[in-house]
Amino acid sequence: MLIDEWGDEWQTRAKYSSEGFFEIEHGTELVDAFNNWPSNDSKNSNLTALLNTRPSIRRCISAVIETGHTEDPTCYIVKEHRNENAESKNFDVRGVAICDLPMNQRHAMLCAIEYNECRNSGQPSFYHIDQRVDELDRAYRRIIIPSKRENGRTTELCVMSRKIMRPSLV
């Protein structure tokens, strides 16, 4: 669990075990999408083609991150991104490195670190993130999945997320 507070802004980022995450997310489309994620042996290496045939998974995907070209997580590239924030809808962040994303840098840096941990472990990771950054309140749960492996290394991550409502956001 990480707590980060500065001025009147803050974020908390909790990493869950798969069991703990499935308990709090039981029955949601996020867990459903994760459970429908193809197993390694049947996985289609073309993620786009795969997602076109599985709309339930596609709906949950918030980003696809390229991780194969660098050892520096801040240089991971956003391949695909679903942008839900009205303020940043005009930005097309495809092809942009994490460190250059037009977003709060405290959030971006921690995303890079979390992506790096998932890439290195080669295992899905589960988070609950709650934050007020750049005057924006939001809370969401997120699964990061190592979606492509080449020569024994994770070269792509798929990020699935679901916004949730905490009492102060209702």
Partner: protein, 194 residues
């Protein structure tokens, strides 16, 4: 003591809390310590246009040992990102600490690694001296006890002739160190410095 920011991370039995402190307050509290002496030496060094001191101060300090903080690290930052920042010198009063040329991305403790990377990445961007009081709870291999360590840390960004931040000088003062039962380690930390 004014707190500018607070970061906390917990994983299993281990925990860290970092308080970002107001520089003026920390200097007042450290006026008579080695950290205060080092700051005054740094203050008199030649500056680049925006007040960042040149990295040559490191060699000056070798010649004129104005202060002996508990722990000093010189970090190379003339590389890509904070993951690649590397240790040039690292010395504790009681012996060597970080291995030379080790990169921040190689720090073994995941808690420490996460915080160090974030701290240095932002300190390089902000280009100003940062002061943190850091509280650590480290798991002791034998069972239900925790090693606690509180220290005060000054981060000095240093630049080259072009103004790029190429080094960090890190100086710390150990405030408290103890081995305590796990139950008392769960208490909420308070600032140690006055």
């Amino acid at each position: 003591m004014r707190i500018l920011e607070r970061r906390e991370i917990t994983s299993g039995k281990e925990r860290q809390v970092r308080f970002g402190l107001h520089l003026e307050d920390a200097l007042r509290a450290e006026a008579s310590s080695d950290l205060g002496r080092l700051y005054r030496f740094w203050e008199r060094a030649p500056t680049a246009t925006d007040g960042v001191r040149y990295a040559e101060i490191i060699e000056l300090l070798d010649l004129v040992p104005v202060a002996t903080p508990d722990f000093v690290t010189i970090l190379g930052t003339d590389v890509g990102s904070a993951y690649e920042f590397y240790v040039i010198e690292s010395a504790r009063k009681t012996g060597f600490d970080y291995e030379k040329s080790m990169r921040l991305g190689e720090i073994v403790s995941p808690l420490d690694r996460k915080f160090q990377i974030v701290d240095y990445a932002f300190a390089k961007k902000d280009r100003c001296v940062k002061v943190d009081e850091i509280h650590q709870w480290l798991e002791v291999p034998a069972g239900d006890r925790i090693q606690t360590r509180n220290y005060l840390r000054f981060l000095y960004p240093l630049c080259d002739a072009n103004g790029g931040i190429v080094r960090f000088m890190v100086a710390t003062r150990l405030l408290a160190e103890n081995i305590v039962p796990l139950t008392s380690a769960l208490q909420t930390p308070l600032l140690t410095v006055a």
